[in-house]
């Protein structure tokens, strides 16, 4: 075994939590408390709204309800990680939080378990019922707690056959059919249990009442009868809701029991994902999202509109992100594992480097933000039909979509489009300029309070930007612009076209020009005039050049430059001035996305900080929360 393999095995093996986790969760959040509390005192976290809301999420607390929370008095252990799992099945969605404890009694108080409240003996521990149907399990050794809740029960029994299997009343029982429902043991994806006897009895009673109330055809229905029927309908709904809740409670306990029996922790479960790698030791929070063969997570009407029940993503696909604390930076690292077909497609699509000529127009000192990308347009157009075919394979009209995409592939001249738009692009956020505009204000006559309209001048701040893309067919681009001019959509002067937006509400004009096989679109005419005149705009360093050309997409945001621009040009704008003060406390923010060579794709956002005495993450949290208007 090589040293590297041994190291990797050790690193992976070292990740254990000893709290049983559910199988098949599609989303897992890991709160690395040992690392978090290396940088934060609990009291500091208690003061942070952001940290508080994340911890409320872990504790499955509804954000619209008051909930007093102090980590130092919570009973939660800061020595082990906590986990939040979300499991989507074809019936319910389960939330499951795994929380390490140092003081179980304090924790029980926190989550609203009253002293002396009855608890159920369950699989070597105690099971407590919480609000809104949730449960809390604490083993006899009180080393951890499992909080579990569910949602989606309102639609779980829309399937009548499932409702019949579990003895859940029909929504509208007025029917001539037999009301005796055969009860089977379910082959449900999560559990297979007899429905609770109480639910069956209640269902029979409700049906009996409903049959009595059925009006006879032709007979006049009195108001009394109608009000009795409406009360009975309400009763039916109430009983049905109770039945559903009762079945969901059983399913939840079944899930919990299977977790405890299998006793596999979150890391063991995550290792079942193909090629999973765990983040480095300085990760504070990590999230894992499994896309393989799962439903589109959206409203029912979307599925109904598309005529599809499940929209599978390609198999083996998952994504993880980690928040990492560095000495003078905070990093958000993302990694996704894609199917071999996706990897091959993206490798082809991102097979070009950024056009070097664009670098001449980037000024690393003066530009506030820069974002650059490079794709191979021809290969993109070749791959996209297949990508869409896979995505839409289970739609109602999949055959038609497949045919349409094949015809599109035939009609598209990939080579010609590739010549027109090569695939490199740079977006430059260059400036923030004050812009004046007129507005109407009411003047109130002091004598009679009649109003008159007065035109006033207001000043606001507008961003300036330049977008550049490359072409090998400048003639066609010029033809398009010239056509726009002839149609009077564009005006023209000295080689620069303008999209006439003098009446526009955004107050932004757009200017276009072509030079040296580069197409420029900008909000500031002067920038393009200088570019056309050959005046040097760009200032580039070797490091930045390498950075932009090395990655498929990359860029930065120069916080201090933004602060400077606001201070110099927009100091009257108090909101922006406030932002400037905070921006000045940060270093550059870099972002990048890496070319895919294997099935792994990576992205990073690094925020540099000027922290001295506090951890970078603490420093950043301060700034972030101060930026929110109070």
């Amino acid at each position: 075994m090589s040293i590297a393999t041994l190291f990797l095995a050790t690193a992976v093996g070292a990740q254990q939590s000893a709290i049983p986790a559910p199988k098949g969760a599609q989303q897992v959040l890991v709160y690395q408390f040992p690392e978090i509390f290396r940088h934060f005192a609990p009291e500091r976290l208690d003061m942070s709204e952001t940290a508080n809301s994340m911890l409320r999420y872990l504790l499955m607390q509804n954000r619209y309800y008051d909930f007093e929370f102090e980590f130092s008095n919570s009973g939660i252990s800061s020595q082990s990680p906590a986990f939040s799992h979300h499991l989507y099945t074809d019936s319910l969605e389960y939330s499951c939080s795994l929380i390490p404890l140092e003081d179980a009694e304090q924790f029980k108080k926190l989550i609203g378990i009253l002293p002396g409240q009855q608890a159920e003996d369950f699989s070597g521990g105690k099971l407590h019922s919480l609000e809104f149907g949730s449960i809390a399990y604490i083993p006899n050794n009180q080393s951890y707690a499992i909080l579990m809740g569910y949602s989606g029960s309102y639609k779980a029994f829309n399937d009548e056959s499932r409702a019949e299997r579990w003895g859940v009343s029909k929504l509208w029982p007025y029917s001539d059919e037999e009301t005796a429902w055969p009860i089977e043991v379910s082959a449900d994806s999560v559990v297979a249990l007899e429905p609770p006897a109480e639910a069956l009895i209640a269902a029979d009673d409700v049906v009996a009442v409903a049959v009595d109330a059925t009006p006879v055809e032709g007979e006049q229905v009195s108001d009394d009868d109608m009000s009795r029927v409406s009360v009975e309908v309400e009763d039916i709904y109430a009983v049905r809701e109770k039945e559903i809740d009762s079945v969901c409670q059983i399913w939840m306990r079944q899930l919990l029991e299977s977790m405890l029996k299998e006793s596999k922790d979150s890391y063991a479960r995550l290792r079942e994902w193909k090629d999973i790698k765990f983040p480095p030791a300085n990760a504070l929070v990590t999230g894992y999202f499994d896309f393989k063969a799962q439903r589109l997570l959206g409203p029912d009407w979307v599925r109904s509109l598309l005529g599809v029940d499940d929209i599978p993503f390609a198999s083996e696909e998952w994504m993880q992100f980690s928040l990492l604390n560095e000495p003078h930076a905070v990093e958000l690292r993302m990694e996704s594992h894609v199917a071999p077909s996706t990897a091959k497609a993206t490798s082809r699509i991102f097979g070009r480097k950024l056009n070097r000529k664009m670098l001449h127009y980037i000024n690393v000192d003066k530009d506030i933000s820069v974002g650059a990308y490079a794709i191979n347009t021809r290969r993109y157009l070749e791959e996209v039909p297949e990508i869409f075919k896979t995505a839409y394979a289970t739609f109602r009209d999949a055959e038609e979509i497949d045919l349409a995409l094949d015809l599109l592939a035939i009609a598209l001249d990939e080579k010609a489009i590739d010549k027109l738009v090569r695939g490199s692009g740079v977006f430059i956020f260059s400036d923030i300029q004050p812009k004046t505009y007129t507005a109407v204000k009411y003047n109130w006559d002091a004598e009679n309070f009649e109003s008159t309209e007065e035109e006033i001048t207001q000043t606001t701040s507008m961003p300036e930007f330049i977008y550049i893309f490359d072409t090998k067919d400048a003639a066609t681009v010029r033809k398009i612009l010239e056509y726009g001019r002839k149609r009077e959509g564009l005006s023209y002067r000295d080689g620069i076209y303008m999209l006439d937006r003098s009446g526009s509400m955004e107050g932004m004009e757009l200017y276009f020009t072509v030079k040296k096989n580069l197409v420029f679109i900008a909000t500031n005419r002067k920038e393009l005039e200088q570019i056309r005149a050959g005046k040097r705009r760009g200032k580039m360093t070797c490091a930045k050049r390498r950075f932009l050309r090395k990655h498929v997409a990359a860029g930065w945001f120069n916080s201090k430059r933004m602060a400077e621009v606001i201070t110099i040009k927009n100091s009257d704008d108090t909101d922006l001035s406030r932002i400037a003060i905070k921006m000045n406390l940060l270093g550059p923010i870099n972002f990048s996305y890496d070319r895919s060579r294997t099935q792994t794709q990576k992205g990073r956002i690094i925020i540099h900080t000027d922290n001295q005495d506090t951890a970078a993450i603490d420093y950043l949290l301060h700034i972030f929360e101060d930026l929110k208007f109070k």
Binding site: A439, Y442, M505, F629
Partner: protein
């Protein structure tokens, strides 16, 4: 970039209880921001109506008002370049205004947030406006992001009441009374009105 708008409620009341009412919204000072928001489908969970939808609803309201006996001379003004909208109408009796407003509040679910009505006693020569701000309105405001709350901080609600007879007294010490004493004006911040319903109440005793 701060943002503000002004909502205006104007009522001209004659001694016989007839008069004219105008409700206006002036978003001109925030028109750039409104224009950007109008490009979005949803903002803070609320659906953003299109210009056409706004125009349709204004005309629906106008059509309803025209259909009501005792209401006349209904006029709609809409300016989508400045985001200024107003509806005005004349009435025979202020009680008819209450009836019409009640219908409009219900149709647009405004009663969940705020509703007002008027009372005029000809013989006693008293005029009152009662206003309710629902707890739902405050909750909805609290749920807004800090950014959205910040945008609303300069929004103003203006009420102007004009009478035939001079004003003897008013229950609101902060309201401005014109030199002729025949007009009363009150300007309050929208956010303050949300939290203090009393600010929206008005009572006037005429000579």
């Amino acid at each position: 970039m701060s943002s503000c708008f002004e909502t205006v409620e104007e009522l001209d009341l004659r001694s016989d209880g007839s008069g004219k009412m105008t409700l206006s919204f002036n978003g001109s000072e925030s028109k750039l921001k409104i224009a950007s928001l109008m490009k979005m489908k949803f903002v803070s969970g609320y659906k953003v109506p299109s210009n056409q939808e706004i125009s349709n609803e204004l005309h629906n309201i106008a059509a309803y008002l025209r259909s009501q006996p005792g209401l006349s001379n209904v006029q709609v003004k809409q300016d989508f370049s400045e985001y200024i909208f107003s509806i005005s109408f004349s009435f025979n009796d202020i009680a008819l205004v209450n009836k019409a407003l009640e219908h409009i509040w219900e149709k647009y679910n405004i009663t969940a947030f705020q509703a007002f009505s008027y009372n005029y006693n000809k013989s006693a020569k008293t005029f009152a406006k009662t206003s309710k701000v629902a707890a739902e309105a405050r909750r909805a405001y609290e749920k807004l992001s800090d950014d959205d709350k910040h945008s609303l901080r300069n929004a103003i609600y203006t009420t102007v009441y004009r009478f035939d007879s001079p004003i003897k007294s008013t229950g609101d010490a902060k309201a401005k009374i014109s030199p002729s004493r025949k007009a009363l004006m009150q300007q309050i911040k929208f956010v303050d009105a949300l939290h203090t319903a009393a600010l929206m109440q008005q009572s006037v005793k005429l000579q």
